[in-house]
Symmetry: C2
Subunit: 128 residues, 2 copies
């Protein structure tokens, strides 16, 4: 069963997107694998304290991407191939890196400074 223990909600971005991101990042990290069962819509919504439809929306979008298989009545589960994982990783890393690099460059920060910042905050986020 996929875990949502270290899931921390942030305001500013939609909850359903945070759920999607949490799952995709788990896939990339290898903590979520092919065939793994997902918590049901109702169970997860109760766990996160949100409406079942919010979870449904996240699961539906993942299903539309082909990452989840849902059969009415039975639990949903992950559908992952090596190729899928690879492309998800590329997609997410690219998005995050591009956003951060663009911001830093717009602030006139040099590559050397950026390296220092990276290392500084890498340690700062140690407690995960």
């Amino acid at each position: 069963m996929i875990s949502f223990d270290n899931f921390t909600m942030v305001d500013g971005s939609p909850i359903y997107q945070q759920i999607i991101l949490h799952i995709k990042r788990g896939v990339i990290a290898g903590t979520i694998a092919d065939g793994d069962e997902l918590p049901s819509r109702r169970v997860l919504s109760a766990l996160l304290g949100v409406n079942p439809n919010t979870v449904q929306k996240a699961y539906k979008m993942l299903e539309d991407e082909g990452l989840i298989a849902s059969h009415s009545g039975a639990k949903s589960c992950m559908v992952l191939t090596a190729d899928t994982v690879r492309s998800i990783k590329l997609e997410l890393v690219a998005a995050d890196a591009r956003t951060a690099v663009r911001a830093l460059r717009q602030m006139g920060i040099s590559l050397d400074e950026a390296r220092e910042i990276l290392e500084k905050y890498w340690e700062g986020e140690e407690e995960q």
Copy 2:
């Protein structure tokens, strides 16, 4: 006069916030300095193709932060001290770095990988 030439609108976040970010990043980069005049609400809204009220909202929030001085009838201009710039820089860099680092760590990426990614995308965003 503050330039908005390399301003590129993104959907996903409110326009008024993008305007605020553009200005703050310019301040950090040093391309926007104390006393610099801002384009009027009407001019900028025409330039960006948005409603004057959207620009007004951005300017108003910057004024509430004390970064802009507005006198009825005259053009608004930047109000910046060394301390202000320093604190803005800390605030923005911290936010961006924290977000990126947290994402990379959740994907199980190592610090070495992160360094490579940084350098790769640093070159990729060269054209600014």
